[in-house]
């Protein structure tokens, strides 16, 4: 990022080419540094806000750009191509902004959406717990009614962006239902403990969020209670999965770009690596998979734009394919780069570490396999 680069307007960043320029100007040259430092610098986060990238899908009346989900995917792919840590921060912010827009009351929308659209209030999602990951039904964080409000107790961990978030969307057990609550950072009883030295997305500023007798007013509840409460979690994770799918495509594209450049320069026995058939096979697989993965998330995005229920399964499939492809090709990219790929001198080592995380977050590959296969059997049963 340079001081002479003016902030971009929303109109300039609402398509893929503009997002790509933003990454080139603000992220690409310094992403490895964020990775080493373990944090994204505040001036970059401010630039994201100035560019209208925090939640561009929000409607214009709250400060958003009203971009389609398909366009949002393209933006997150381009950001992910530059830095998965930055994309991860956008993902969790996107999920919270979506949930408030979709299920918020008029008062909640008025209170939070303008700040979420601008990024003035960064947001994080609190689902995982020390003993609970994929199986949210075993969640132990509790919400109980006290007087006219609520009291929340529990511990949430692996919270992306938790170190700096101003608003947490906390999921807690309320009887048999898992219910969503909007918890401002400054609420008494909220304690933030940074988590360092993760394998990947090292600059995404993870934290553990401890909630000790956190008092909340009645209007902290987001969305319905009872049977439909689970929809908030399902719908929010669905959009997160979509973002991770797009970000994974960005990682694979970055691997392809890096490998195409490296193998054109690097020679063995006076022949560029690119002339070797085994290298070409790897490049071909990258091209094929990045194209297929992009088509899958774009399909999921179009279904979201149409409000079509098929987007849920389409997103599962897109995320599963894109994240596993990214892990596979990031490994190949390191292999192609040899010892250089295992060093900090080339970004493929970062892609490799980040890609592994994509197979875990927003539904592990194994959970996706179970879910996708279940749907197949439902349809295929005679």
């Amino acid at each position: 990022m340079t001081a002479s680069t003016p902030p971009r307007t929303l109109d300039q960043v609402r398509d893929r080419a503009s997002a790509r320029r933003f990454v080139r100007d603000h992220i690409a040259a310094t992403a490895d540094e964020y990775d080493r430092l373990g944090r994204v610098p505040e001036p970059l986060l401010d630039a994201i806000g100035a560019a209208g990238l925090w939640a561009p899908f929000l409607p214009a009346d709250v400060g958003g750009g009203g971009v389609s989900y398909t366009a949002l995917g393209a933006i997150h792919e381009e950001i992910g191509r530059g830095c998965s840590s930055v994309r991860s921060l956008l993902t969790v912010h996107t999920m919270v902004a979506f949930a408030v827009d979709r299920w918020g009351t008029q008062d909640q929308r008025r209170r939070w959406l303008p700040s979420l659209a601008s990024g003035r209030v960064p947001a994080s999602l609190c689902v995982s717990e020390p003993e609970v990951g994929s199986d949210a039904t075993r969640m132990t964080t509790s919400a109980r009614r006290v007087g006219g409000g609520w009291v929340v107790n529990g511990t949430k961990t692996w919270i992306t962006g938790g170190r700096r978030a101003g608003l947490f969307l906390v999921f807690a057990r309320n009887g048999p239902a898992v219910t969503a609550f909007l918890v401002p950072r400054e609420t008494p009883g909220v304690e933030i403990t940074p988590i360092d030295d993760m394998l990947g997305t090292r600059a995404s500023m993870l934290a553990t969020v401890t909630l000790r007798d956190v008092p909340l007013a009645a209007d902290a509840l987001l969305g319905p209670e009872s049977f439909a409460a689970g929809m908030v979690l399902t719908g929010t994770l669905d959009l997160g999965r979509f973002s991770v799918a797009a970000g994974s495509v960005g990682i694979t594209q970055a691997c392809l770009d890096a490998c195409a450049g490296y193998t054109s320069q690097r020679r063995i026995r006076d022949v560029p690596l690119r002339e070797l058939q085994l290298i070409r096979a790897k490049i071909t697989d990258m091209v094929t998979d990045v194209t297929a993965a992009r088509l899958l998330y774009e399909r999921a995005g179009r279904l979201k734009d149409a409000g079509d229920a098929q987007t849920i399964m389409a997103t599962w499939i897109a995320k599963y394919f894109a994240s596993t492809a990214a892990a596979r090709h990031a490994s190949a990219a390191v292999q192609i780069h040899g010892a250089n790929g295992a060093s900090a001198r080339h970004p493929v080592a970062r892609y490799f570490r980040d890609a592994k995380v994509m197979e875990i977050i927003e539904g592990s590959s194994e959970i996706q396999q179970i879910t996708i296969a279940d749907a197949a059997y439902q349809k295929a049963m005679p």
Binding site: F227, A228, G230, D308, I312, Q378, K379
Partner: protein, 84 residues
């Protein structure tokens, strides 16, 4: 309209669960296949198919218990507000 709405919702559920046997008055939650994923799909389907938005206070168990309950919910949301 009531028959068409119920029939359409019934078709959607059967499309996802071809083996399920239920009438439009049966409690679909008692059949054991409804989870939060399908609940989300069901709400999205109803909103898109019938061009309605289901507010939070209507997202309650009793409105989704049977196909006919869902059809009645659709009819309520489709009605213009009195006095407008």
């Amino acid at each position: 309209m009531g028959d068409y709405t119920a029939e359409t919702i019934n078709d959607f559920i059967h499309g996802r669960f071809p083996d399920a046997t239920f009438t439009d008055d049966d409690d679909i939650f008692s059949l054991g296949f409804i989870n939060s994923l399908f609940a989300m799909e069901l709400v999205m389907y109803i909103e898109q198919k019938f061009s309605v938005t289901i507010p939070n206070d209507e997202l309650k168990f009793d409105n989704f218990r049977t196909v006919n309950c869902m059809a009645e919910l659709v009819h309520r949301q489709a009605l213009p507000a009195v006095g407008q």
